[in-house]
């Protein structure tokens, strides 16, 4: 049986439907960048090892380089181009801008999409590898700097902007950064 190696699909991206034929090999990342001219989502490694291609799939952060486009049909896709409210930046975007949470900017869209999800995951009570006691308790533990660092670790930044990224995520989350060793005595 000769298998079809392409499909006509419809992708729902940032609230808009896009009909397109795709080669099954096409990842969501390549579909966004090369077929739909949504180049805000970045290709850093194409292997799920850097997080630059992070988008939200049904509200959850996902690396789009390992997500086949054909398998993303029927799901709500949100990219960096879709996180602002019109002209008004998302609070995470604003915090990255104000606190210089980036340098070259290439990992930035992925960092921002990831941070948006991190804040939601934390609010939903999801523990992380930095959570001392993962057993469910009456209260969600605070979003400390250590928690932010661990939760944001799937987004590599080679310029070394992590310090201000942590501050930006904390500001956007409305969290006081606590639990941080002070550098100065």
């Amino acid at each position: 049986m000769a298998l079809s190696t392409s499909s006509a699909i419809t992708l729902n991206i940032n609230g808009e439907k896009h009909a397109l034929p795709v080669d099954h090999r096409t990842t969501l990342l390549d579909a966004l960048r090369e077929r739909l001219d949504l180049t805000g989502t970045k290709k850093g490694c194409d292997q799920g090892q850097c997080g630059a291609c992070t988008v939200l799939l049904d509200g959850r952060r996902t690396v789009s380089c390992l997500q086949l486009a054909v398998a993303a049909e029927g799901r709500e896709i949100t990219t960096i181009e879709g996180v602002a409210d019109g002209e008004r930046l998302h609070p995470v975007q604003q915090a990255f801008l104000d606190l210089d949470g980036y340098q070259c900017g290439y990992c930035t869209p992925g960092q921002i999409c990831s941070a948006i999800a991190v804040i939601e995951e934390h609010a939903a009570g999801w523990p992380s590898a930095a959570t001392a006691d993962v057993r469910p308790g009456p209260e969600v533990p605070p979003l400390t700097a250590e928690e932010i660092r661990e939760r944001m670790s799937g987004n590599l930044c080679r310029c070394g902007a992590y310090v201000s990224i942590v501050q930006a995520v904390a500001r956007a989350a409305g969290a006081e950064v606590t639990g941080d060793a002070e550098v100065t005595a």
Binding site: L3, S4, T5, S7, D23, H24, R25, T27, D46, Q47, G48, G51, T54, L57, R60, R61, T62, V63, L66, Q67, L68, V70, A71, S114, A117, V118, E121, A124, G125, W126, P127, S128, A129, T131, D133, V134, R135, P136, R149, E150, R151, S153, G154, N155, L156
Partner: protein, 330 residues
């Protein structure tokens, strides 16, 4: 990446029919390992059967007090599940120690068990590898093997299984359920991975064309006090160089029950049964923990550059069990 067909399965019999009809078909879960290996040319399926729509994404309590975890439950949902966190905290910790938030959202329980080694020779088509190309040789034995196996390996393959989740599942006696065209079956995780021997390319006891449907955790009161510790060359987003899942039940200073499993030391999550045997009924002391670790690691066979793992695992066992013993005493 080679061209391939794609189908979305809507029920288990439908998925089995497609998988059974084409030996070159592969089941697609989260794709976090399979798609990567397809890009690398290591996996070359003719057809992908997408499991996303299958009704295997639930975590349910079993009648005997255990948990049945559907095969397509995401790592994130597994880790965040209140009953998992309450009854098997080391499992939540193990899952959260793996990969990244993004990958955990995509990756499934079934896929985690079936993921392939990250050995740098296995994932590079330009190099020999007995697991990828049987008979081509294992360059890691003479080459780069700092992060390779010290237990249960052979001269044919010294790769380690990369799973964190699997280590906790092994400690808690998980059972893998599957379906085939001929009906359902199940296999304890302890027997799920085949010995390496001279067939490192044959990795699991899963029959051809079978589909993992669930992983069941039997009730394990000891697991309520459990912990997973992972050591790696980066603080996060890196595979283990050594890890351990431990659970401890101490009564009057005596080890009443204990579970211990190791990660990143063997071709499978390594249940440390010898250590457990030594510990049961003995004192909950650092000395006893060390003796038990030594008993388990007596079988270790180190290569020139991975002998540190023996020390690392011994220290990890002592530290982890000591912490649990202190917590039990509180």
């Amino acid at each position: 990446m080679r061209e391939f067909g794609y189908q979305r399965a809507h029920d288990v019999p439908g998925a089995l029919a497609v998988l059974g009809a084409d030996p070159e078909a592969r089941a697609l879960g989260g794709g976090t390992n399979l798609v990567d290996l397809m890009k690398a040319g290591v996996e070359r399926p003719a057809l992908l059967v997408d499991l996303r729509d299958l009704p295997l994404d639930r975590i349910e309590a079993t009648d005997d007090g255990g948990l049945r975890i559907g095969a397509t439950v995401s790592n994130s949902d597994l880790a965040a599940h209140p009953e998992v966190r309450r009854r098997y905290p080391a499992l939540t910790q193990a899952v959260l120690a793996g990969a990244s938030g993004q990958l955990r959202n995509m990756a499934t329980v079934g896929g985690n068990l079936l993921q392939r080694t990250r050995c740098g020779y296995f994932t590079d088509l330009s190099k020999p590898c007995n697991k990828r190309t049987p008979g081509s040789g294992c360059p890691a034995v003479e080459g780069e093997h700092r992060n390779h196996a010290i237990l249960g390996a052979s001269a044919h393959c010294v790769a380690v299984h990369p799973s964190d989740m699997g280590v906790a599942l092994a400690a808690f006696d998980a059972v893998v359920s599957y379906e085939t065209a001929d009906g359902p079956g199940e296999v304890p995780l302890a027997e799920f991975y085949l010995p390496v021997g001279d067939t490192p390319h044959q990795e699991t006891a899963l029959p051809p064309g079978a589909l993992i449907t669930a992983v069941t955790l039997p009730p394990a009161p000891v697991a309520a006090l459990s912990r997973y510790r992972k050591v790696r060359e980066r603080a996060s987003y890196a595979f283990a160089i050594g890890s351990a899942a431990a659970a401890l039940d101490v009564r009057d200073g005596v080890v009443h029950d204990v579970r211990l499993a190791f990660g990143a030391v063997a071709s499978r999550p390594w249940r440390a049964r010898e250590a457990e045997r030594v510990l049961i009924g003995g004192p909950a002391s650092a000395e006893a923990f060390g003796t038990a670790a030594d008993a388990e690691l007596a079988a270790a066979q180190a290569l020139p550059d991975n002998g540190y793992k023996v020390t690392l695992m011994r220290n990890l066992v002592v530290a982890l069990l000591t912490e649990l013993a202190e917590e039990a005493g509180r």
